[in-house]
């Protein structure tokens, strides 16, 4: 037990120290984790043997990440990307694998080994690239999208690659491999479980020994289960769980969903990352999207961080320094080849200046799937163990260099491009310009008006039934507690111009207004108040506009009554306007006296006393009436009789 605690302590320590420092220095969190890993692994030697196992575990972070990416991506958007997905992704994998394999053939002699090396180095690091793109807010740019298409294609391409590798076995190596296979049965990682691969003995599989057709049937069935289940089953399930109002149950359900899908995919020898991605896409339209996002996010962050640490910790400095030149030359060579091909493809697919560079620089590394394929290839006698060690260093080093390339993009490429004239702005996906918290009767009317005016809105409510009702009539609404910062983040608060606080909990509404003003001072806050008491609290909390919920309706009711008893409608209108203005003045006047440090109820007594001392209650009303009278009489005042005599001069 204490051993586990010590490990956890070390890893967390490394992350907590290195990541903020790296971010402060502008290096990004990924490089921070990698450096932390190097520090606790090869440099200090605190951790060692367990890193490889941990890495397999941490790879689940990639699965979670793809689920989150899927959540951001509506099916229509994915469909729009199809040309790039196949064209850009396909060409990248083919061209990079081909070029590296050709070079490998020259250097190694065995074409089989060369092809395997080409394939595994053609893959890039989904973890590093997506994490960095998201962190820098570049995911929605053209370059980010293009990069994502390629990564997605690569993730799919891993499956046929795993099937292909056993075929490439080099006879001379098979003998050695048979020995190794005994001890190095590969870990729990799902990605390595290639269909029919001789090394894929570990773990369960539903499809072992099935014929090709039956296998295809099972695979299609599994995918259909994810899509249909995601579409039809998750909603009632989540709605049921949401109604229990237990946060941790919802989190557990979200994790269960992702783990379940990953397991299903592993059982049928598909990529779990791909499966959860698909589930994410299916749920992108769901009202629970933001809630799922904010629940899964921390797990993803921690696991990915762990993954990066293990990459850093796994660097074998012995081999590195022994063959320093070779490792460096190979790393730079691989990155140059991949970068060159990416640059060419970027031109072919007409990426614009900044996007073109982003695309080229972000994907030039090798990635975590490379490790997986590498282990698989060594087991299958396609790549000799010494070469395996070397390549594993090349992969790690290229991953380590990627954040450096991103920094280069930020510091060298962007400034130069920015000064160039006529650079059209990147198309950033528009998010809700107004967030409405609370989809009760109040929030709904606000939302309808905004939508009628063509303003994009995101509606949040913690009552699943409300959300469902809104969705039925086609309103973008999401389930979740609006006072949670992570949910607000997911709803796009960074880019919102205004926020409507219409939640039905008095105290939470005040807290929310206060939080929003503190974190987003530029955001305009419009808040619903239940009464004057609440209104003052909201105003003090920082609401720019606070309105009493029943005031205007009551006024309208009064006006309707006045008309009903025979008053001229326009006289009623004038009175109503004057009344509202007068009331507003009074409200503002009293607010000055109101002391927010005192409890309002006590304070009201105080105000009452102030009033009582100045005049008797009746007199006040009388005074009020005459002030009101002045106001209604002002305007369209006829000139005094006989005034024309003054004019005729």
């Amino acid at each position: 037990m204490s051993g586990v605690l010590f490990q956890v302590f070390v890893y967390l320590c490394a992350a907590v120290v290195a990541v903020p420092v790296a971010k402060r220095l502008g290096l990004g969190s990924v490089l921070g984790y990698l450096i932390a890993g190097i520090a606790i692994g090869p440099v200090l030697g605190i951790v060692g043997a367990e890193t490889e196992q941990l890495q397999h575990f941490a790879e689940f972070g990639v699965v979670l990440m793809l689920f989150l990416v899927g959540l951001e991506l509506k099916p229509q958007l994915l469909w729009q990307m199809r040309a790039r997905l196949l064209g850009l992704g396909g060409l990248q994998v083919l061209a990079s694998a081909g070029a590296i394999a050709a070079l490998g053939w020259l250097l190694l002699g065995h074409w089989q080994t060369a092809v395997a090396v080409g394939l595994l180095l053609a893959l890039s690091s989904t973890a590093i690239v997506l994490q960095t793109l998201t962190e820098k807010g570049l995911m929605a740019t053209d370059g980010g999208r293009a990069g994502f298409s390629v990564l997605l294609f690569q993730d799919v391409a891993v499956i046929p690659m795993l099937a292909l590798i056993p075929v490439l076995a080099v006879p001379e190596l098979s003998e050695i491999a048979r020995h190794a296979a005994g001890e190095a049965g590969h870990g729990a990682s799902g990605q390595a479980a290639g269909h029919g691969g001789p090394g894929a003995g570990a773990g369960l599989s539903l499809v072992d020994g099935l014929s090709g057709w039956a296998y295809a049937g099972v695979v299609l069935g599994a995918v259909a289960a994810v899509v249909l289940g995601g579409h039809f089953l998750t909603r009632p399930l989540f709605r049921f769980i949401a109604s229990s109002r237990l946060r941790e149950t919802f989190t557990a359900a979200a994790l269960l969903l992702v783990v379940g899908i990953a397991l299903l995919m592993t059982l049928v020898d598909l990529s779990p990352a791909l499966g959860t991605f698909l589930a994410g896409v299916v749920l992108a339209d769901s009202e629970f999207r933001h809630e799922l996002e904010s629940d899964i996010e921390p797990f993803k962050g921690l696991l990915l961080g762990l993954f990066f640490i293990t990459v850093g910790a796994g660097i074998d400095f012995g081999v590195l320094f022994g063959q320093l030149f070779t490792v460096l030359a190979l790393t730079v060579g691989v990155m140059a080849i991949k970068g060159g091909i990416l640059f060419g493809l970027g031109r072919l697919f007409r990426l614009r200046a900044a996007d073109h560079w982003l695309f080229t620089l972000s994907l030039a590394q090798a990635g975590e799937f490379g490790f997986v394929l590498l282990a698989f290839s060594t087991q299958n006698a396609v790549i000799p163990p010494e070469l395996g060690k070397l390549l594993s260093l090349v992969i790690a080093l290229s991953m380590l260099l990627t954040p450096v390339l991103f920094i280069g993009y930020d510091r060298l490429v962007l400034p130069r491009l920015r000064s160039a004239p006529d650079q059209p702005p990147d198309t950033i996906d528009e998010q809700g310009a107004v967030i409405i918290a609370g989809a009760g009767r109040f929030g709904q009317v606000v939302n309808r008006l905004l939508m009628a005016a063509g303003v994009r809105t995101v509606v949040l409510d913690h009552e699943a039934a409300n959300v469902e009702r809104m969705r039925q009539i086609g309103i973008r609404s999401f389930f979740g507690d609006a006072s949670r910062p992570d949910l607000l983040q997911a709803a796009g608060i960074e880019r919102a111009a205004a926020f409507v606080v219409a939640i039905d909990d008095r105290d939470r509404a005040v807290d929310l207004a206060e939080y929003l003003k503190r974190e987003y001072p530029d955001l305009c806050i419009v808040a619903r108040a239940f009464d004057v008491d609440h209104l003052y609290l909201l105003r003090t909390a920082g609401a720019d506009v606070a309105l009493r919920e029943v005031f205007d309706t009551s006024l309208e009711a009064g006006a309707a009554t006045l008309r009903a008893v025979g008053q001229h409608p326009f006289e009623v209108e004038k009175l109503k306007r004057a009344f509202r203005r007068h009331d507003l003045d009074t409200l503002n006047e009293l607010y000055e006296l109101w002391d927010h440090d005192l409890e309002f109820s006590k304070n009201r007594a105080l105000l009452e006393r102030v009033r009582a001392r100045t005049a008797a209650e009746l007199e006040i009303t009388a005074a009020d009436r005459s002030r009101l009278h002045d106001r209604t009489e002002r305007g369209w005042t006829p000139p005094p009789k006989g005034y024309t005599k003054e004019l005729d001069v």
């Binding site: 305007g635 000139p639 005034y643």
Partner: protein, 228 residues
């Protein structure tokens, strides 16, 4: 000259403060008035009030408007011509703000000596605005109610600064020149370089703006119209 004794002029600072009361109920669709407003807003010494924005429900604040009038020397209504007159809010503004005892009648001297004019855009072509045209009257004639209002309030009335064929001014490339004239006019009014005496009887302010600004040397032009 009962209003401001040109306190700023002596110091060489802007002599006249200009108030542009702007009225357009459909600003997003405006092609002619919008660039004019933008240009006016960019000028020093010019206050622009978008009446429809400030009083979307026509609840005009009389006190505030009267205070504004007191604080300026030149009052301008800027608006599209709607039924040979102003859009409704300007009429509402007149009915409410120009009170007895403030603008006219006993003690109503707040506006005395100020300059008043309209800057309007008309859909019809210039040729239509004459006795022979389909509108039968000149633009100055049609705006006579405003002219007489100005006189009753003791103001100096200047003829309208008008753009005709406003719906096609942009596509025919006439708007830039008009905006430039507008800026010259406002600047000259502000700096006291407009020949007001000469402008008063004209049919339109921009019929021959160059002539009104002839004394481009401000030192030469200034004293003449200060006595107007």
């Amino acid at each position: 000259m009962s209003s401001d004794p040109a306190a700023g002029a002596a110091a060489g600072a802007p002599a006249r403060r200009i108030l542009v009361l702007f009225a357009h109920p459909s600003l997003t669709r405006s092609e002619a008035n919008r660039p004019l407003l933008t240009a006016a807003r960019a000028l020093d010494g010019v206050t622009c009030v978008d009446l429809y924005a400030e009083y979307p429900a026509f609840e005009i604040d009389i006190d505030r408007e009267q205070q504004r009038l007191r604080a300026h020397d030149v009052i301008c209504f800027q608006h599209p011509l709607y039924w040979y007159s102003t859009p409704a809010i300007l009429k509402e503004w007149q009915d409410l703000v120009l009170e007895h005892g403030f603008a006219y009648g006993a003690g109503g001297t707040a506006l005395h000596g100020k300059v008043f004019f309209c800057a309007c855009t008309a859909g019809g072509p210039e040729a239509a605005y004459c006795a022979e045209g389909y509108n039968h009257f000149t633009i100055r004639e049609l705006l006579q109610p405003l002219e007489q209002t100005a006189y009753l309030c003791g103001m100096t009335y200047l003829p309208p600064f008008a753009l005709f064929g406003a719906r096609t001014a942009v596509q025919e490339g006439r708007i830039d020149a008009h905006v430039a004239d507008w800026v010259r006019l406002l600047t000259a009014l502000r700096d006291g370089t407009l020949d007001i005496a000469r402008a008063e009887p004209l049919p339109r302010l921009n019929a021959d703006l160059d002539a009104l600004l002839a004394g481009t040397d401000p030192t030469a032009a200034c004293p003449v119209e200060d006595g107007a």
